[in-house]
C-alpha cells in the first residue's frame, strides 16, 4: 500500500507520506493536525492562528470571532482523510454520512490500486468515468459505473498494447483489481508489433496479405489468455483484429489474424467457462481459423451467442458452425457477411432441424442461393425454436419463397424474417402473402428490394400489422387473445 508500484502519482505530496504512515488511525490523525506542521498548502493558512487561541472557544477581544467559522473536528478529519487517501485509505471504518463526504471529495485521479477494491460507491466511479470519457452510456454496462470504468480502462489498455514494446505486466497487474467487475472485453483494435526496419518493400505490400501467415511471430497480437484466465466474471468477448484510423499508412499486415493468434484465442475461450457471448468480427477469419475456434467451443458450458460476422468463412466453416449448433446451447448465431454457400447452408439447415436452442440465425450477405434457402425452409418446418431468421442478400428466388410460404402457414415460433435484397419475384411475393395470411405470430418480414409486387408487400405489411396488434393484445390481456384473433382475422382479410 505504502509503495504504489509505478503508478503515476500526480500531485500527492511526498512530505506527508513520511509522518502519516506511522500510527495515524481515524480520529488520531485529526488530533495530530494542529500540532504537526502540515505540509498541504491550504491547511497551512489556517494554522497560522496562534495555538493558544485554538484552545479557547470564546475570544472576546476578537470581534469577528464566531464559533461557526471554526470547522468541526470531523470536517477537519474528513479533509485530512481525503487528502491522504492515497497513502492511508480510511473508508469502511467511518460512519455512513462521513463515508459519503469522503467519497464526494475524493479525487478521481487516485491510483486504482487504492480505490479499485475499496470503493464501491457509484457516484465516485461516475466522476471517474466522466472525467476520462466525454460520452458515457452506462446502460450498456448494466447500469454500473464501476464496471464501465474498469471495462473501458482495460479496453483502452488493450487497444494501445503493442506486443514486444509494451510491458505485459501493465495489463496483468490490473487483473486483481478489476477481475470482480469486468464482464465484457470489447476491443476493436489490436496493434501489431512495431517493425523498426521496414523490411517490407513497397512492391510487396499488395500481396503481403496473402503471405502474411508465413511471417511468423512477428505479426502476432496480444495474447489474451492470461488476462481472460484472471477475470472470473467475464461473460462477453467482443474482438476485432485490426487497426483503426490507419489512414494512409494502410498495410494489409495491419489486419492480420494469424494462426498463432487464432490458436491462443481458441485456448482462451475454451478455458473461460463463464463466457456467454463471443464475437470475432472484421478479422479475416477463414475456414481453417473458424474451425479451430469452433472446435474449441464445442460443448462449452455457457456460450449462448456466437458472432463471426464480416469474415471470410466459407462452407467448411459453416459446417463447423452447424456441428457447434448440435453440441452446445447456442442461442444466437451470426454469420453475416461471410462466404457461406449452398452446402454450408444445407449443413446449417440439417443442424437446425433438431435444434431446440437456437433462437436467432443471421446469414446476411452470404450466397446460399435457392438450394440452401430451400434446405433451411425444410428445416424450419420441424424446428420449434427459431424466432429470428436473416437471409438478406443471399440470391434467393421464387422456389425458396414457395417453401417458406408453406413454412409460414405451419410454423408458430418465427417472429421475424428478413428476405431483403433477394430476387423473390412477383410470384414468390404472392406465395409469401398466402403463407403469411395463415400465420398469426410473424411480426416482422422484410422484403425490401426483392422484386416483390408492391401490392403483395402492402398486404403482407397489413397482415404483419394485424399480428403485431394481436401480440400486443396478448401481452395486455392474456385471457382474450384467441377471441381477438378471431375477431380481427376476418376484417383484415376483407381489407
Amino acid at each position: 500500500m505504502q509503495e504504489p508500484p509505478t503508478a503515476p502519482t500526480t500531485s500527492q505530496s511526498s512530505v506527508s507520506q513520511g509522518h502519516l504512515t506511522t500510527p495515524g488511525q481515524g480520529s488520531n490523525t485529526g488530533l495530530q493536525y494542529p500540532k504537526s506542521p502540515p505540509a498541504p498548502g491550504q491547511a497551512s493558512t489556517k494554522t497560522k492562528v496562534p495555538p493558544v487561541r485554538r484552545m479557547r472557544r470564546i475570544i472576546a477581544e476578537d470581534a469577528e470571532w464566531s464559533l461557526a467559522i471554526v470547522p468541526l473536528l470531523t470536517e477537519l478529519c474528513i479533509q485530512h482523510i481525503v487528502k491522504n487517501f492515497q497513502n492511508n485509505p480510511i473508508l469502511n471504518q467511518l460512519l455512513p454520512e462521513h463515508q459519503q463526504k469522503v467519497l464526494s471529495h475524493l479525487s478521481p485521479d487516485l491510483p486504482l490500486t487504492v480505490t479499485a477494491n475499496l470503493i464501491d460507491d457509484e457516484s465516485y466511479w461516475r466522476r471517474c468515468c466522466a472525467q476520462r470519457w466525454p460520452v458515457c452510456h452506462v446502460t450498456r454496462y448494466g447500469g454500473s459505473w464501476k464496471r464501465m470504468f474498469f471495462e473501458r480502462h482495460l479496453e483502452n489498455l488493450l487497444k494501445l498494447f503493442i506486443p514486444g514494446t509494451t510491458d505485459p505486466s501493465v495489463i496483468l497487474s490490473l487483473v486483481p483489481l478489476c477481475k470482480r467487475y469486468v464482464r465484457r472485453i470489447q476491443v476493436d483494435q489490436f496493434l501489431p508489433p512495431v517493425q523498426l526496419p521496414t523490411t517490407s518493400q513497397p512492391g510487396d505490400q499488395s500481396d503481403s496479405g496473402s503471405e502474411g501467415e508465413g511471417d511468423g511471430p512477428t505479426q502476432d497480437h496480444y495474447q489474451l489468455g492470461d488476462l481472460v484466465a484472471g477475470l472470473s466474471h467475464l461473460e462477453e468477448l467482443d474482438l476485432a483484429y485490426g487497426v483503426k484510423d490507419c489512414g494512409m499508412n494502410f498495410e494489409w499486415n495491419l489486419f492480420l489474424f494469424t494462426f498463432r493468434d487464432c490458436q491462443s484465442l481458441a485456448a482462451t475461450i475454451k478455458a473461460c467457462h463463464t463466457l456467454k457471448i463471443f464475437r470475432l468480427t472484421r478479422s479475416k477469419v477463414g475456414d481453417e481459423k473458424a474451425r479451430i475456434l469452433i472446435r474449441s467451443l464445442l460443448d462449452h458450458p455457457a456460450l449462448e451467442e456466437l458472432d463471426l460476422s464480416n469474415n471470410f468463412i466459407g462452407d467448411r466453416g459453416a459446417r463447423g458452425a452447424a456441428k457447434l449448433l448440435s453440441h452446445s446451447r447456442l442461442r444466437i448465431l451470426n454469420l453475416a457477411n461471410n462466404q457461406v454457400r449452398a452446402p454450408g447452408a444445407q449443413a446449417l439447415a440439417h443442424a437446425l432441424e433438431h435444434n431446440t436452442c437456437l433462437v436467432s440465425l443471421n446469414l446476411r450477405l452470404n450466397c446460399i442461393e435457392d438450394e440452401g434457402g430451400q434446405a433451411l425452409a425444410h428445416a424450419l418446418q420441424t424446428n420449434k425454436c427459431l424466432t429470428t431468421l436473416h437471409l438478406g442478400g443471399n440470391e434467393l428466388s421464387e422456389p425458396t419463397a414457395t417453401l417458406l410460404s408453406q413454412v409460414l402457414s405451419v410454423n408458430t415460433t418465427l417472429t421475424s424474417i428478413n428476405l431483403s435484397c433477394n430476387h423473390i419475384g412477383l410470384d414468390g411475393g404472392k406465395q409469401l402473402l398466402e403463407g403469411i395470411s395463415d400465420n398469426k405470430t410473424l411480426l416482422e418480414f422484410d422484403l425490401r428490394l426483392s422484386d416483390v409486387a408492391q401490392e403483395s408487400e402492402y398486404l403482407i405489411n397489413q397482415a404483419l400489422h394485424a399480428n403485431r396488434e394481436a401480440a400486443r393484445q396478448r401481452v395486455l390481456n392474456p385471457g382474450h387473445f384467441v377471441s381477438f384473433i378471431n375477431a380481427k382475422g376476418p376484417q383484415n382479410s376483407v381489407r
Binding site: 450477405l365 442478400g393 422484410d446 377471441s483 376476418p490 382479410s493
Partner: protein, 706 residues
C-alpha cells in the same frame, strides 16, 4: 383464404340468425329438407352463441371502454397506431440505406466475379498466346542454330528480337491494362469510400431526422392526447357544470318555494300568536284576580298559621324544657344504669366463674352419678339375676308346695274314697265306683296358656332376633313356637320380612306413607300386622297356606336368583345353615317347615312345656281356687247327705251301743276314772296346737275314726 371463408360463413350465419325468427324453417315442418335445414340452423345458432359468449366479454369490455372514454381512448389508439407506423417507416427509411448498400455490395460482388472471371480468361488466353509465341521463338532458336549464313542468322535474330519485343509488349500491355484496372479500382475504392462516408452521413442524418421526427411526433401526439383528454375533461366539466347549474336552479326554485311557504306560515303563526296573546292576556287577568284572592286567603291562613306557630312554639318550648329535664333525668338514669351495668357485669363475671365452677362440679357429679349408675345397673342386673333365681326357686317351691298339698289332698281324697268305698260296700252294700275328675289327674300347678295373636308372636320373633345379637346367652331354643330345630330364628325373620315385602299389596298405601318414618323393625311389625288384619275372619291355617304359597313363590324367585347353589345347600347340616355362608338364603324346605311350625305352634295346646317366661307374664291364679274348690267337693253333697244320714243312724246306733257300753262300762269307767282324768289333764295341757288349727280338716274323719 380461410378467414374470409369463415367470415363468409359467419355473415351467412348472422343473416340466418336474423332471418330465423321471421320466416325460419320449422323443425316441425312436413318437408324433410326444411327440417334438416332447420336443425342445421339451430346448430349454427348454438355455435354462434357459444362463440359470442367467448368473444362477448372481450368485445363488451372493449365497447364499454370505448363508450366510457371514447375520445381519449380513440385518440390514444390513433396516436399509438400513428406512432408505430412512424417508427416502422422511420426504421425502414434508416435501414433502407443498409439494404441499399447490401444490394450494391451484392451487385458489386457479382460484377467483380464476372470481371474476375473475364480477367482470368483473358490472362489464360494471354498465357496461351504468349506461350505459343514463346514456343515459336524457342523453336526458332533451334532453327537459328542450324543457320550458317550470317545474314540469315542476323535476319532471323532480328525477327526473333521483333518477336520477343512483341511478346514483351504484349505483356507490358497487359500489365498496363491491369494497372489501369487497378487504378480504376483504386479510384473506385476512393469513390466507394466517399460513397460510404456519404451513406454514413446520410444514415446519421436520417437517424437524426428520424429521432427529431419521432420526438416531434411523439410530442405532437402527446399534445393531441393531452388535448383530447383536456377536451374530454372540458366536456365532462361542462356537462357536469350544466348538471350542476340545473341542480342549482332546481335547488333555487325549491328554496324560493320554501321561502314563500315559510312566509305564509310566518304570517299564520303571527296571527295565531296575536290571538294567543290576547287570549293569554285575558286569562292572565282572570288568573291574576284569582291568584290575588288566593293570596289574600293565604295571607289569612298565614296569619292563622303564625298564630298556631306561636302557640306551637310555646308548646314546643315547654316541651323542650320538659324534655331537657327529662334528658337530665335520663342522663342521671343513664349514669345509674351504667353503674348498674357495671355492677351487673361484675355479677355476670362472678356468675360466669360460678357457672364454670358449677359445670366442673356437675361434671364431677355426673361422673360420680354415672359411676353410681353403672354400679346400680350392675347391682340391678345382679338383682335381676337374683330375682330370676329366686323366681325359679319360688316357682320350684311353689311347685313343691303345690305338689305337697296336692299329694296331701289327694291322699285325703283317696282316704275319703276308701272310706266311701268301705261305707258303700260294707255299710250300704252298694257297688262303688271310683269317681272320675279332671283335677284328679292334675299334677303340679295349673298354667293358663293364652292364645296369642300372630302379631304378638311376630313381635316376639323379631325382638328375639334383634336381641339375639345382644344376649346370645339367653336360651331361646325353647321357643314356644317350637320351630323345627334346623330353622333358626333368623331365617324365620327373613321369611317374615320377605313376606312383608312381597305381600305389600295387602297394605294400604296410606299406611305405607305413615310407616316410612318409623324404625325398621317397627315398620315391619306394623306391616305384618296390617297384612294379617286384612282378613281376620280367615283361619290361620288358610293364612298359613297362603303364606306358604306366597313364600314359595318368593322362593321360586330366589331359586332363580340363587341358581345351582341351592342344590348344594340342601345337603348341608342344619347347623351350618347359620354359618355366614348364605345368611340371606332361606331354604325352600325350611320355609315350609317354618310356616308349618308357625301355624302349628299357634294351634298347639300348651300341655307339655312349662311356661318359659313366667316371670314375664305373671301367673294366672284364677283357676287355683277353682281347682282347690273342686278338690274339696270331691265327695258330692248327696253323698255327704247320705253320710250325714248314715252318721245319724249310726249315731243312733252308736248311742244305743254306747248306752249299752255305758252301762257296761260305767263300772270300768268309774274304776278307771281317776287314772283317766289324770291322763286327760295332761293331754289337754300339751295339745295347744290343736286348738290353734283353724280348720281341722281331719275332724270329720277323726271323729268317726275315734
Amino acid at each position: 383464404m380461410n378467414p374470409s371463408g369463415a367470415h363468409g360463413v359467419l355473415e351467412q350465419n348472422g343473416e340466418e340468425h336474423i332471418s330465423t325468427p321471421i320466416h325460419g324453417p320449422s323443425i316441425h315442418s312436413d318437408n324433410p329438407q326444411e327440417r334438416i335445414q332447420a336443425r342445421r340452423l339451430r346448430i349454427a345458432a348454438r355455435l354462434e352463441a357459444r362463440r359470442r359468449e367467448a368473444l362477448g366479454e372481450y368485445l363488451d369490455g372493449k365497447k364499454e371502454s370505448e363508450e366510457d372514454q371514447s375520445k381519449s381512448y380513440k385518440q390514444k389508439e390513433e396516436s399509438r397506431l400513428k406512432l408505430t407506423k412512424l417508427l416502422l417507416c422511420g426504421t425502414e427509411l434508416v435501414t433502407n440505406i443498409q439494404v441499399a448498400t447490401d444490394i450494391r455490395e451484392i451487385h458489386r460482388r457479382v460484377e467483380e466475379e464476372e470481371i474476375k472471371r473475364q480477367r482470368h480468361e483473358k490472362l489464360e488466353n494471354e498465357v496461351k498466346t504468349s506461350q505459343d509465341k514463346f514456343d515459336e521463338i524457342t523453336m526458332k532458336w533451334e532453327e537459328g542454330k542450324q543457320k550458317r549464313i550470317p545474314q540469315d542468322l542476323w535476319e532471323m535474330l532480328n525477327t526473333q528480337q521483333q518477336h520477343c519485343a512483341g511478346l514483351i509488349e504484349d505483356k507490358n500491355k497487359l500489365i498496363s491494362e491491369l494497372q489501369q484496372e487497378l487504378k480504376i479500382k483504386d479510384d473506385q475504392y476512393v469513390k466507394d469510400l466517399k460513397k460510404q462516408s456519404d451513406d454514413i452521413c446520410l444514415l446519421l442524418e436520417r437517424m437524426e431526422e428520424q429521432v427529431k421526427n419521432v420526438m416531434k411526433n411523439f410530442r405532437q401526439e402527446l399534445y393531441h392526447i393531452e388535448k383530447a383528454f383536456e377536451a374530454e375533461r372540458q366536456e365532462l366539466m361542462t356537462s357536469n357544470k350544466k348538471k350542476w347549474e340545473r341542480a342549482l336552479q332546481a335547488h333555487n326554485a325549491k328554496e324560493l318555494e320554501y321561502l314563500l311557504n315559510r312566509m305564509k306560515k310566518v304570517d299564520d303563526y303571527e296571527k295565531q300568536l296575536n290571538k294567543q296573546r290576547i287570549w293569554d292576556c285575558e286569562e292572565y287577568n282572570t288568573i291574576k284576580i284569582k291568584l290575588e284572592r288566593d293570596v289574600q286567603i293565604l295571607e289569612q291562613q298565614l296569619q292563622q298559621m303564625k298564630a298556631t306557630y306561636q302557640l306551637n312554639q310555646e308548646k314546643l318550648e315547654y316541651n323542650f324544657q320538659v324534655l331537657k329535664k327529662r334528658d337530665e333525668e335520663s342522663t342521671v338514669i343513664k349514669s345509674q344504669q351504667k353503674r348498674k351495668l357495671n355492677r351487673l357485669h361484675d355479677i355476670l363475671n362472678n356468675l360466669r366463674s360460678k357457672y364454670i365452677k358449677q359445670i366442673k362440679q356437675f361434671h364431677e357429679e355426673n361422673q360420680a352419678l354415672t359411676s353410681d349408675y353403672k354400679r346400680l345397673i350392675t347391682q340391678f342386673k345382679e338383682l335381676q339375676k337374683a330375682m330370676r333365681h329366686f323366681a325359679l326357686i319360688d316357682e320350684e317351691q311353689f311347685r313343691e308346695i303345690w305338689l305337697m298339698n296336692e299329694e296331701e289332698a289327694k291322699s285325703l281324697i283317696r282316704r275319703a274314697f276308701d272310706v266311701d268305698q268301705v261305707i258303700s260296700i260294707q255299710h250300704l252294700g252298694l257297688t262303688w265306683t271310683m269317681p272320675d275328675f279332671w283335677f284328679l289327674k292334675n299334677v303340679g300347678p295349673i298354667f293358663q296358656q293364652q292364645k296369642k295373636s300372630a302379631t304378638q308372636i311376630l313381635e316376639e320373633v323379631l325382638l328375639q332376633t334383634e336381641e339375639e345379637g345382644a344376649e346370645a346367652a339367653t336360651p331361646d331354643t325353647e321357643s314356644y313356637l317350637d320351630l323345627p330345630k334346623q330353622i333358626s330364628a333368623k331365617t324365620t325373620k327373613k321369611i317374615l320380612m320377605l313376606l312383608c315385602d312381597e305381600s305389600g299389596f295387602l297394605i294400604e298405601s296410606k299406611l305405607l306413607s305413615l310407616l316410612l318414618p318409623l324404625e325398621k323393625s317397627e315398620c315391619y311389625l306394623l306391616r305384618l300386622d296390617a297384612i294379617f288384619s286384612v282378613s281376620p275372619t280367615r283361619q290361620e291355617m288358610t293364612w298359613g297356606e297362603k303364606w306358604s304359597m306366597s313364600s314359595q313363590h318368593c322362593l321360586k324367585e330366589q331359586e332363580t336368583l340363587e341358581g345351582g347353589q341351592e342344590g348344594r345347600i340342601v345337603g348341608r347340616e342344619p347347623e351350618e345353615k347359620e354359618a355366614p355362608l348364605s345368611p340371606r338364603l332361606i331354604h325352600p324346605n325350611d320355609v315350609l317347615k317354618v310356616l308349618e311350625a308357625f301355624v302349628m305352634g299357634l294351634k298347639k295346646p300348651k300341655d307339655f312345656h312349662p311356661p318359659p317366661r313366667i316371670q314375664k307374664y305373671g301367673r294366672d291364679n284364677s283357676k287355683d281356687s277353682e281347682y282347690w274348690e273342686a278338690l274339696t267337693t270331691v265327695i258330692p253333697l248327696a253323698k255327704l247327705n247320705l253320710w250325714d244320714a248314715l252318721y245319724k243312724a249310726l249315731e243312733k246306733y252308736h248311742l244305743v251301743l254306747t248306752q249299752r257300753i255305758k252301762q257296761l262300762m260305767e263300772n270300768d269307767t268309774l274304776e278307771q276314772q281317776n287314772t283317766e282324768l289324770q291322763s286327760l289333764l295332761q293331754q289337754y295341757l300339751q295339745s295347744k296346737v290343736n286348738s290353734e288349727l283353724q280348720v281341722p280338716p281331719t275332724q270329720g274323719f277323726w271323729l268317726p275314726a275315734k
